[in-house]
């Protein structure tokens, strides 16, 4: 086992991450505007921007899912309890005592167990809740009915509840960036792609042999 700086977020992943971030922020801002929490955009503009970025995000997700499945990268999100407790204990207690983070990134495990579980829940529960209810919401207008009754209310409730939950995720996600040695160091892997990862001798040999520009 040796710790090396390697490329953990390829250009595609960084593109997916930051495009998704921009679209999610736009959707939260316009969505809560439509909901009536603020008046910074007029209703029509908010709906146009909301619908446009929603379609953009759906396309991005189709591409991202295809990419994860074909590259095998989906495996990073397989839930594991191995080390989960240590990470939870660290954020609840050890971090205050100045302990080091108990988790080290591995070549096929670039997220800590708590992080992998959170991202999995986001992708499998919150995102589907928001896009399924969002598409139903959009299609409702095309049905040509003037009355939007009980059903639309439930669609709207689920859509709004999922939006609140995604905003909570965003707050925690950004906060956790401050918990490393520095904010910058924590953000850099998603900018230049490189981070320190524990490699087995085989992985190290493979990278040096076959992907020399992925290892420093």
């Amino acid at each position: 086992m040796s710790a090396r700086r390697i490329l953990i977020f390829t250009r595609i992943e960084r593109f997916l991450h930051w495009t998704q971030m921009l679209l999610v922020i736009t959707l939260l801002f316009t969505g809560f505007g439509i909901h009536g929490f603020h008046d910074l955009l007029d209703f029509e503009a908010a709906v146009t921007w909301h619908t446009g970025s929603a379609i953009g995000l759906l396309l991005l997700w189709v591409f991202a899912i295809f990419w994860h499945l074909t590259t095998g990268t989906w495996r990073h999100y397989i839930p594991t309890t191995n080390g989960l407790w240590q990470v939870a204990r660290y954020y609840a207690y050890g971090i205050f005592k100045g302990e080091h983070h108990p988790y080290h990134k591995a070549y096929w495990r670039k997220h800590n167990p708590l992080q992998a579980l959170s991202y999995l829940a986001l992708k499998l529960l919150l995102f589907p809740a928001i896009w399924i209810s969002g598409i139903l919401y959009l299609l409702y207008g095309f049905r040509g009915t003037a009355t939007a009754g009980e059903l639309l209310m439930w669609v709207a409730l689920i859509h709004t509840a999922a939006a609140f939950a995604i905003l909570v995720f965003v707050i925690i996600h950004v906060y956790l960036l401050t918990t490393g040695d520095s904010f910058k160091e924590h953000v850099m892997p998603m900018i230049n792609g490189f981070d320190e990862v524990d490699l087995t001798a085989e992985e190290e040999a493979y990278l040096e042999q076959d992907e020399p520009d992925h290892i420093l």
Partner: protein
């Protein structure tokens, strides 16, 4: 449109309970991370002085 009842109109209607729980969750989370960060900061200073 304001006075028409019996249907859900986005932008006009919302569920008071859901909004309350949602805002509580959002501001609760904000308060929690700020508190967590503040404790980290204070204890870090304490460690440096010790």
């Amino acid at each position: 449109l304001k006075d028409l009842k019996g249907f859900y109109l986005p932008g006009r209607d919302s569920n008071r309970w859901l909004d309350m729980i949602g805002l509580l969750a959002v501001f609760g989370t904000l308060a929690a991370v700020l508190g967590h960060g503040l404790i980290r900061l204070v204890l870090k200073r304490g460690r440096k002085q010790a």
